[in-house]
Amino acid sequence: MGSSTRAVRDTPGRRAAARRRLVAAAFLLPALVLLGALVVQPIGFSLYRSLFDRSGDTFVGAANYTAVVRDPAIRTALRNTAVWVVVAPAVATGLGLVFAVLTERVRWGTAFKLLVFMPMAISMLAAGIIFRLVYDHDPHRGVANAVVVGVHDTFAPASAFPKARPGRDSPLEPAGDGAFVTREPVRAGVPALLPLVGVAPEALPKGARTAAGARPVPGEVTGTVWQDFTRGGGGAVNAVDPTETGLAGMRIEAVKDGRTVATATARADGTFTLPAAADGARLRLPASNFREAFAGVEWLGPVLVTPAVIGAYVWMWAGFAMVLIGAGLAAVPRELLEAARVDGAGEWQVFRRITVPLLAPVLVVVLVTLVINVMKIFDLVFVIAPGAVQDDANVLALQLYRTAFGTDADQGLGSAIAVLLLVLVVPVMLVNIRRIRRGASR
């Protein structure tokens, strides 16, 4: 009896519960099906596939995982990913913190923030192309090297004659440090001959004219420095021939007992004049005449490519850190900072003792987000590192792509790298879940 009454009473309730579940399922199912098929299932499949060889038919146990540790290419990728994880988030967060604090003090802070945050909106591909151009080795194209070469040449001007050298039977000999010096001392009134070869015709200084033999002047040391080479043949060695060119602008020093007693610069026709003090000295052409033109830094060479790409990443993501930290900063009570200032604390002390500790939770969130982001870095390296140095710039995500979809595809090994990537983010996954659970139980 009792059970039947309950059945009668419960039927509508149970039906309602069943209906509610059906409604919930209808709301949830599309999302859950996609998540299951394209996110959850792949995790299981990767684990499974990583235990099989290239073809997928032969079980190889942990062989793919040992290969991950042994393969030199993957080891480079692991090492670079470690560098990325240590350097990039820290630099981006540090800059973000500095920008967030400093922009509060200038009127154009908002414009500055907008400028720094903007790269967040564009693709890593576009940022990659932007920085490929910045880092171009040619200082007439890449702005980074244009600046480096510009600064360098201001302090150490490039020379006009990088390839010039004495020819056969020359009266000049190498002085050891890139300079050349005459074998014999020179005499006043006897024109000195300083023949050099090896300057390409198009590299001759602008305004250089046909070389002339120097006139003897009593009481002065005169001479000619010129390109001792007649194009098309003819011309005697160590003699100023009619079509040969003066090396205008060459620096000449007269050296006595290791001391420079006089200096001169060659005129357009290569002639020069030194005072009487140079009598009996040896003439030296200092190394500054022959220094190779400075070509700038090889940003995208094997050594610097990873720091260079990290630079591009910081350019993209410092704005993210800045905005998040800025939001945290807005929540810091001003009275606290003012009180510290009134107590005589300097700005640096206020920053270090009060602002940073109060911002610690935000800083942790930013750092963790960037660390996860950096572990998966792919596009920037793929686009900025030229093909020849991609082995040196390699990171895990790039190696995964190359292993699984390259010319010599090995999806077993690729899956092992995928599992490794997943394992690296599991701690963050657990922290996220715990945070939500704590929030839910509150």
């Binding site: 998540l35 920008f99 400028l115 693709s123 591909l125 910045v134 999806q411 690729g414 879940i433 659970r437």
Partner: protein, 279 residues
Amino acid sequence: MNAVRRLAGSVLLRVFLVLAALFWLVPTLGLLVSSFLSPGDLNRGGWWQALTAPSRLTASNYAHLLANDTITGSLVSTVAIAVPATVLVLTLGALAGYAFAWLEFPGRDWLFLVVVGLLVVPVQVALIPVSELFGAIGLFETTAGVVLFHTAFGLPFAVFLLRNFFAEIPRELLEAARLDGAGELRLFSRVVLPLGGPAIASLGIFQFLWVWNDMLVALVFADSAHPPVTVALQQQVRQFGNNIDVLAPGAFLSMVVPLVVFFAFQRQFVTGVMAGAVK
């Protein structure tokens, strides 16, 4: 003395910020100016030459590019991927978010925790398995495949964000509507969706930019005959150095839409980025 120090500090601060601003401005400016220089001028010297000789600037690169079917076609492909992938994520994410926030069913809490756990799963983990799956069901190298992939990987964040937002809706509002006899679907579309507007806008902008800017997923799954703009340009990067007249305007065309969205919806974008800090 103190005043002098304060003045020096303020000058130093401004110098530092101006230098930093230059660091952020010059790279983009370089590409922008380069995109308006002829190939001949690009070979002759740095883009900065145009700062003193603005008459050299020309739109001819853009004219050539817009006449180039590969690039214009790739922009169409990008739209064809980004728009459906955004709409799908918003729709499915809102439905699931509502269910997690306001419907009762067994296993609700742990299922939500699973979704939260999926937030940080790297896209790379799914590349090999999903390419096998798509190969088997004929979705490999199709636009539909790319859209589904982006939707799936956008969903954890969408569900997470929208559930939390919907959960803040006052219970009385929903109860009142239920008492009036509104069904769940009606409740969802008439009460929850309008109230969820801001969160949905942030999420939509975030997801749209994410998909628009993606290269890796497209590289693996997109139809190689109709690649999106990131892949089309990436194929040009191999020739970097003698095709800046193509790459620079191409990169800018690909940036126009994200930048317009960014400047038009700054606030929503920032909200989305901040909420996504766990992703």
